[in-house]
Point group: C2
Chain length 807, copies 2
C-alpha cells in the first residue's frame, strides 16, 4: 500500500487554526485547553459523530491502542502530554490501518514513511500545544487506507450532517470544498435551451433538453458553479439497432486510385445557412415544470453535489426530448454543446417546456462552468473549449478524442477503436440517436433520420479510409488556438479505444495558449480513475475546480503537478514531471537487422506473408484477444505472418517518452498494402493489469448517506513474457499524408515513415525492446485474408525512440 | 427476455379498486370518470411524478406511440374508447420494452405472451370501464424489462415521496408492502444484548452488539417487524491473519488406525457450566447512546427498510465491540444468535452501553422476526431456527450450511469448500474474530484467543477427517425437529462452496415439522439472486415476509410454489414443482463396464493410478480450474489418472432429481485410499454461465433516492463439450460411516457405497451421462501425489440415478 497525495495544500498555522474553527474541531469547549492529551481527546470525541454518550466514547478509546501496552483511554487519562508515537499509533487506527499488517505500535513512523503519509512537524518526541493542533489538521487532510481523506471519511460518518441547516455557502478545508450540502435536498429540474441551429430542418431552432441538479441553498440566493457533462449516452442508447449497423470487417483491403488531393480540397468550411427565427418569448418563469430522476452518470459529479456545485447534464441534438440529428462529433454537436454553456452563462434563452415559450434563466448559476466526463463526454468538452465560449473556465477531459480521424481512422486506413471492430461514425450516430427511444417522436422523424444515416455512411468513406472533409469537420486541432479554458486531461496509457495520440495532440496543441494545462496519465484502459486507492484524484479535482470555478486562491495551479504519470513497473506509484512527449526529446535510433534492433545497419531483405489458413483466420476473427496473445509469442502460430526485431537485453533502463517513429523501405506483391506495428517489452515480469481490481465494492462514499463507488486499484497480474507498449498503422498508398493517395506498384520498394501512437513507458534493464511488423490487425483493421506479401530492405530501416529527459 | 413472476396475487375487482384508491391512482379527480381514454390519461399523468405541468405531460404523451400511426396524445384525445392493442402498446413502452427489439405496434399481445407478461381480461377489442381499471392494476404488478414491478419502478421515480409525510403504517399493494417510508429518516442505533453465556471466561456474561435500523414512524408508536441478519463478517474480517493460518493441502493422505467408534462415543452433549450472574439493571432508557453508519450488507434488507420493516445486524461472540470468542458454528454461536431474537421478542435484556447497565427494550418491535442472509449468515439463521426460539417466524436461508461437517469434510476426508483449499474451522474463526480490529480490546484477550484457536485446530482434527464431537456439535440436523419457523431456502445447484447436500438435508429434514417450507434452486454458484431480471425473487420475499411478519393473509403460502428450480438448459426459465429430491423417486440403475454406463454387467477389472509427474502436479496445485478442465477432457493429460464411464447418446431426456448413489468393489495398492467422483453431462451445447452477468450496473433502485443494485442474469456461454453435474468423495477407510474407521488391506477388494451430492439436472436427448472416478481432487482434497493405484471389479459396480417424477 502506497499513498500518493498531490492535493495537500501547504498551510500556515494561523490558517490551520482558522479552518479548524470553521469546521468546529476547535470550538468553545476546547479552544482554551492547554493539556495536549485533553485536546487530543476532544478531537477524538468529535471523530465519532455517531457516539452520543461519554461511556460509549470511552469504549471507543478503550478499543484503540496508544502504545504497545496502553490503550488510548488509559494513555490519555494518565498522561498530560501526547507522544508523537502515541499520536500516530492512534491516528493510524483512525486511518483504518491494521497493526497486524501495516504497522507496529513500537514504530508507527517508519510505516507512515513507507506508506507515504504526512508526519507533522515536532520539535521533540512529544507534540506541544500548537504542534498537536497542526498534527490534527494534517491528519484530517491525510488519506485513510481506503483512499479518502480522513475529513471525508468523517463526512461519510455524518460529521457534517449537523452543518446542513446552517449552510449558506461552500465551506473549505485545506483549499477544497466540504460536503456541507444535504444531498437529499437537491433540486432537480429540466429546461429546454434554444440553440442557434436547425439540424433536423423542421423550420424551428433545435430545442435541447438540459437536466439540472442544484443545492437547495440556491433558492436562498446562493450562486453556484456548474459542472456540466455533455453526454449523448445518458438519455439511453440504441444498442440493438446500432449493433445491426455494425460494418463487416472481414472484407479485403482495396487498391485506391492515386490522386493529387491537397488540404484545401478537403478543408471543411462552415456553410452559410439561413436559420429559422428565434422563438418569441411569451413570459418568464423562475421555476421549472419538470423534474427528473435518472442522474447517475459519474460519481465524481455526485461528490461535488454535496459540496455546493450544481451539475448539469445535456445529451444534445438527436437525443431523447431534444430536437435535431446526431452527427458523431460534427460542428453541429459542438454548437449544441456550447448552447448549454451559453445559457448557464446568461447568454442564451431556455424555456420551461417545448411549447409555451416561457423563458427560464439559470439565475442560480455563478456563471463559472467546468466540464467533466470521459470518452465522448470528454470529447464534447474538448470541442466546446475549442470555441472559446464565454463562461467555460476549465475542462477536465478523461480519455477524450481530439480528432475523430484519430478515433476511427489512421494513416489512410479504417482503424477501429480497440474492442469495437466495425463500429464507425454512422454506427455511433445510430447508437446515440435516443429520439428513437420516444417512439411517438421517432415516428415523425424516421425518414429524415434514415436519410441522415445514409449521408454519414457516405461521408465517412470506409472505402478509402482517407482524411476528407467529413473528418476535417471533426478535427478539433484546427481550433486549438481558441482554447482559453484551463485544461486538465486524463488518459490511459493502455487505452486502445481512444488511442493516446488523442491526448498527446491536445497536450502539445495548446502549449502556446497561455492557459494552465495539466495531464494525468494512468496505466489503465478506457476508464475513470476517481475511485482509486493510491492517488488522490478526487482531491486534486476538488482543489482544481475550487480554484477554477469558485475563484479561490488555493494554489491549485502550483500544487497540482503539471504531469503525473503512473509508473508501469511499481504498483501504486505515481511520478511527477514538467512535461511529456516533448518534441525536443532526445531520440535513440535503432537499425533493423534480421530479428534484431541493433546499432549496425543490415543489407538483408526480409519478408512475410499476411494470409492465414481458413481455420486460423476464423478463430482469430472471433477471438481478437487470442490473436494478440499469439502475435507476441515467440515461435507461435503467427511466426510466418510477422517480422520481429528485438534489442539485446538492455544494459540500462530505458524510458520511452513521446512518439516513436519508423523509417522503412517496403514493397507489396500487389498494388495495395497496409502495415501494422507494435512496440513490445520482452522480459519475464509481473505487470500491472490494465483493468483495475475492485478492492471493496461500494467502498467509497461520496458523503454521508449518499452515492457510493467501488474502491479500485491496478494490481500486478501473473508473470508474463511480454507486453505491447504501443502500436501504429499505415496504408502504403498514404505515405505522404492521410488525404493524398499515392500509387503502389507491385514488388516495387517505396520509402515510408510512420509515427506510432505516443506513450510513456519504462523498460527495465535486462528486458528487450521489440518491434513487430505485421499487416492485418484482427482487432482494428479490415481482415481480408489476402495473398499479400510484404518485403523490406533493411539497409535504411530505422526505429527512433524518444527518450525521457532526466529531471 | 422471459419474465417469470410467481408473486402476483389473484385479486378480485373490488379489492383492486380499494387498493388503487389507497395508492391514489383512483382519486377524487378520476373516480367518476366514465371515458376509458380519459381514465387512462389520468393514470398516465400519475405515472410521471416528475412532471408538473400539462404541457410537459403532453410532451410525454406525444413521445409514446399508441398505434402504428398515432401517438398516445392524439390517440387519447381522439378516442373515447381505448383498444386493448393501444393500451398494451403504451404499456409496453412504460415497461421499458423497445419496439425496435421486443415487440411491434401491430401486435403487442403476441410479444407479451412470449415474454410472459400478464394480459388483463377483456370481453372485446376495447377495454370497458372496469376492465381498464383492472388492466391498470395488473400493469402496476407487472415487471418492466429491467426486472422490477411497474409500481416499484414508479416508486424509484418518486411516486411515493408525497406519501412519506402521512405514512403511519405499512401500505400494501397486491399483497406486498410498498416503499412509503422515507429511507433518509431511518433511525440507527446500537444496543448491547446480554447473553446467557461467558465464552471468553472473563467472569461476565457476554455482551453482544446489535445494530438496529428502524423507520422514523416507530417513534410515533408503530410496531414493526424485524429482519435480522446474523453476520460475523459485517464488523470486519482478518483476511491477512486468516490467510496466514490457511493449511497446507499438499500433504499425503494417511493411513488411519481402525476403530470401533460408535455414535454415542462422539455425540456432543451440552456441558454443565456455572454461569456468571446477570448484570444488575441500574435504570431504563428508550433511546440509544450510539448510532452507526456501516449498514450496507444485503440490498434485499435495504429494500425492506423503505417498506416499514426494521433491520437488525449482529455479528455475535468474538466480533468487534462484542464479548466472547468465535467458534465457527458451535452451539455457543447459536446461543449468541438467538440472544438477539430473544431481545427483539421481549425476552432478554439489552443495555445502552457496556458499563452503566441501563436497560433498553426493543419497544418498537412487533415481535415478529425473520432472518435473512447467505452462506454463514444463512447458516446462523438455520442454527437459530433449530432452537425453536420464540419470535422467530421465518428464516430465508440462502446457500446455508446445515452441518459444518458437510462444509469442511465428507466421508472421512478433509474436503475443502470449492475455491478455498486449506481453509478450515480454525481459519474461519480467525477471519471472523473482529475483536482483533479493536487493538485496545484485542490486546487484553490475545492469549486467550491464541489458546482458543489451538483448541479448535485440535478438535477439528484434520489428521483423520472423521466426524467427531466437534462436528457433531456443529450438525444442525440433530435439532431439525425443533424448527417451528417457516423456511424459505435458496441454493445454487452449482454451489461448490456450500455444497447442495446442505440444502437437501434441510429440505428433507424438516418435512414432518408441520411448517411451510419452500425451496428456490438456481443455476448459480454461491450468490444472492435478489437482483435478477428473469425472476421476481424480491417480490416473492416481499409477499412471504408480509405474510409471515405482518400476519397478512396474502396467500403467500399458496401462491409461492413449493419448489422453484431454474432450468439448466433454457435461459430465463424457472420451473415449479411440488417437491425435489424425494427419497421415493424412482431410480435408473446403470452398470459400469469399461468406458461405459450400460445395462449389462461386466466382469472386467479396471484400474488407475493417482500420481502425476511433478510439473503437472505443481501446475494443477496452482491452477485448480485447469485441472478441472483437463479432468473432463477426452484423451487429455489426466487420461491415466481417472476412469470414465459414459452412457450411449441418450434417446430421451433424463432429469436427475436427488441423490445419485454408487456401489463399487475397489482395492487400493496401499493401506489407505480415497475416491472422488463426478457425474458429467457430455454433449456440445451452449450452457448457462455459473456466474451471472451484470446487465446494468446499478440498474435496480430499492426505491426513490436510495440504494441501488446491479441488474444481473445468467447468460449462455460459449459452446462447451461437457459440464460437471455433481460430485462426491469418500475415504476407503470410512465405508460404514464418517466416524468409524475400517481396516484397508493393500490390494484387497472391498465393497463401497457412496452418496454423491444431490442435484437437479436436465440432461438432453443426444447427450451422454458420464461418471468419472478419480482420487485426488485438486480443488478439495489433500494432494499427496502418492504412488496409489486403485482397482475396480466391475461385476457389481452400479450407478443409481434418482429420476424426476413427471408431474
Amino acid at each position: 500500500m502506497r499513498n500518493n497525495q498531490f492535493a495537500i495544500r501547504p498551510t500556515d498555522f494561523e490558517t490551520q487554526v482558522k479552518e479548524l474553527k470553521e469546521i468546529k474541531f476547535l470550538n468553545k469547549t476546547n479552544e482554551d485547553e492547554i493539556s495536549t492529551s485533553k485536546l487530543l481527546k476532544s478531537f477524538l470525541k468529535l471523530s465519532y459523530p455517531e457516539i452520543k454518550s461519554d461511556q460509549a466514547f470511552a469504549h471507543r478509546l478503550h478499543s484503540l491502542q496508544a502504545t504497545e501496552s496502553s490503550d488510548a483511554f488509559d494513555y490519555l487519562d494518565n498522561n498530560e502530554k501526547v507522544s508523537v508515537l502515541a499520536f500516530y499509533n492512534i491516528s493510524l487506527q483512525l486511518l483504518q490501518f491494521n497493526p497486524d499488517v501495516d504497522f507496529n505500535f513500537a514504530d508507527p513512523l517508519s510505516a507512515m514513511e513507507k506508506i507515504q503519509l504526512k508526519i507533522a512537524d515536532h520539535k521533540s518526541d512529544y507534540f506541544d500545544h500548537d504542534e498537536i493542533i497542526s498534527a490534527w489538521y494534517w491528519l484530517l487532510a491525510t488519506h485513510t487506507k481506503n483512499g479518502q481523506a480522513f475529513i471525508d471519511r468523517l463526512a461519510t460518518q455524518g460529521y457534517f450532517v449537523p452543518f446542513y441547516k446552517d449552510t449558506t455557502k461552500q465551506l473549505l478545508f485545506n483549499g477544497k470544498t466540504l460536503p456541507v450540502f444535504d444531498p437529499h435536498k437537491l433540486i432537480r429540474e429540466v429546461v429546454y435551451v434554444e440553440s442557434s441551429q436547425d439540424t433536423d430542418h423542421d423550420g424551428k431552432l433545435d430545442l435541447l433538453k438540459a437536466e439540472i441538479i442544484r443545492p437547495a441553498q440556491t433558492e436562498n440566493g446562493l450562486k453556484v458553479p456548474v459542472l456540466y457533462t455533455a453526454t449523448p449516452y445518458l438519455q439511453g442508447t440504441n444498442d440493438e439497432t446500432g449493433l445491426e449497423m455494425t460494418h463487416n470487417v472481414n472484407v479485403p483491403l482495396r487498391h485506391k486510385e492515386p490522386n493529387d488531393t491537397k488540404y484545401e480540397d478537403i478543408e471543411y468550411q462552415t456553410p452559410d445557412e439561413d436559420l429559422p427565427q428565434k422563438r418569441q418569448i411569451n413570459g418568464h418563469a423562475t421555476e421549472a415544470e419538470e423534474g427528473f430522476i435518472k442522474d447517475l452518470c459519474y460519481s465524481l459529479n455526485d461528490y461535488f453535489l454535496a459540496r455546493g456545485f450544481a451539475v448539469v447534464y445535456a445529451s444534445g441534438i438527436g437525443t431523447s426530448d431534444s430536437d435535431g440529428m446526431r452527427t458523431t462529433g460534427g460542428p453541429e454537436e459542438t454548437t449544441s454543446t456550447t448552447a448549454i454553456i451559453e445559457w448557464l452563462a446568461g447568454n442564451r434563452v431556455a424555456f420551461t417546456n417545448r411549447v409555451d415559450n416561457i423563458e427560464i434563466k439559470a439565475w442560480w448559476s455563478n456563471k463559472s462552468i467546468g466540464m467533466t466526463g470521459r470518452s465522448y463526454l470528454g470529447t464534447l468538452a474538448t470541442a466546446a473549449a475549442t470555441t472559446g465560449v464565454d463562461g467555460l473556465k476549465t475542462i477536465v477531459t478523461e480519455a477524450a478524442i481530439s480528432s475523430w480521424y484519430d478515433y476511427y481512422r489512421d494513416g489512410g486506413l479504417v482503424i477501429a477503436a480497440g474492442g469495437f471492430p466495425g463500429e464507425d461514425a454512422d454506427v455511433l450516430a445510430e447508437e446515440t440517436f435516443s429520439r428513437r427511444l420516444n417512439p411517438g417522436d421517432f415516428y415523425r422523424v424516421k425518414e429524415d433520420w434514415d436519410q441522415k444515416l445514409m449521408e454519414i455512411n457516405h461521408d465517412e468513406d470506409r472505402d478509402t479510409g482517407d482524411y476528407n472533409k467529413f473528418w476535417d469537420a471533426r478535427n478539433y486541432h484546427k481550433n486549438f488556438k481558441n482554447v482559453k479554458a484551463d485544461v486538465l486531461m486524463v488518459h490511459g496509457l493502455n487505452d486502445w479505444n481512444v488511442k493516446p495520440r488523442n491526448v498527446e495532440r491536445l497536450w502539445n496543441g495548446i502549449k502556446n495558449n497561455n492557459i494552465v494545462q495539466k495531464a494525468i496519465l494512468h496505466q489503465g484502459q478506457h476508464i475513470y480513475i476517481n475511485n482509486f486507492r493510491s492517488i488522490d484524484y478526487t482531491d486534486m479535482i476538488n482543489l482544481w475546480l475550487t480554484h477554477e470555478l469558485l475563484d479561490v486562491d488555493n494554489q491549485a495551479e502550483k500544487i497540482i503537478p503539471d504531469v503525473v504519470i503512473q509508473d508501469n513497473v511499481k504498483p501504486e506509484t505515481w511520478n511527477t514531471f514538467d512535461n511529456w512527449s516533448d518534441p525536443e526529446n532526445e531520440r535513440k535510433i535503432f537499425n533493423l537487422a534480421p530479428d534484431k534492433l541493433t546499432d549496425k545497419p543490415s543489407d538483408t531483405t526480409v519478408s512475410f506473408k499476411d494470409s492465414l489458413p481458413d481455420d486460423q483466420y476464423w478463430d482469430y476473427s472471433k477471438d481478437n484477444d487470442q490473436w494478440q496473445v499469439d502475435l507476441l509469442k515467440d515461435d507461435g502460430p503467427l511466426n510466418d505472418n510477422r517480422l520481429v526485431f528485438k534489442t539485446d537485453k538492455l544494459e540500462d533502463d530505458l524510458t520511452l517518452d513521446g512518439i516513436p517513429k519508423l523509417d522503412l523501405t517496403v514493397s507489396s506483391n500487389q498494388d495495395l498494402g497496409m502495415l501494422s506495428f507494435q512496440l513490445v517489452d520482452y522480459g519475464k515480469a509481473k505487470r500491472l493489469n490494465v483493468s483495475p481490481s475492485v478492492l471493496t465494492p461500494n467502498g467509497i462514499d461520496e458523503t454521508f448517506d449518499w452515492r457510493k463507488d467501488d474502491l479500485r486499484e491496478f494490481e500486478l497480474g501473473k508473470v508474463t513474457d511480454s507486453k505491447m507498449i504501443t502500436k501504429g498503422h499505415i496504408n502504403l498508398q498514404n505515405r505522404q499524408n492521410p488525404y493524398k493517395t499515392d500509387e503502389l506498384t507491385p514488388d516495387k520498394f517505396i520509402d515510408l515513415s510512420v509515427e506510432l501512437q505516443p506513450n510513456f513507458y519504462h523498460l527495465l534493464e535486462g528486458h528487450q525492446l521489440g518491434l513487430i511488423i505485421y499487416a492485418t490487425d484482427f482487432g482494428m483493421t479490415v481482415r481480408g485474408n489476402q495473398a499479400l506479401k510484404y518485403s523490406f530492405k533493411l539497409n535504411n530501416a530505422k526505429l527512433s525512440i524518444p527518450l525521457h529527459k532526466l529531471n
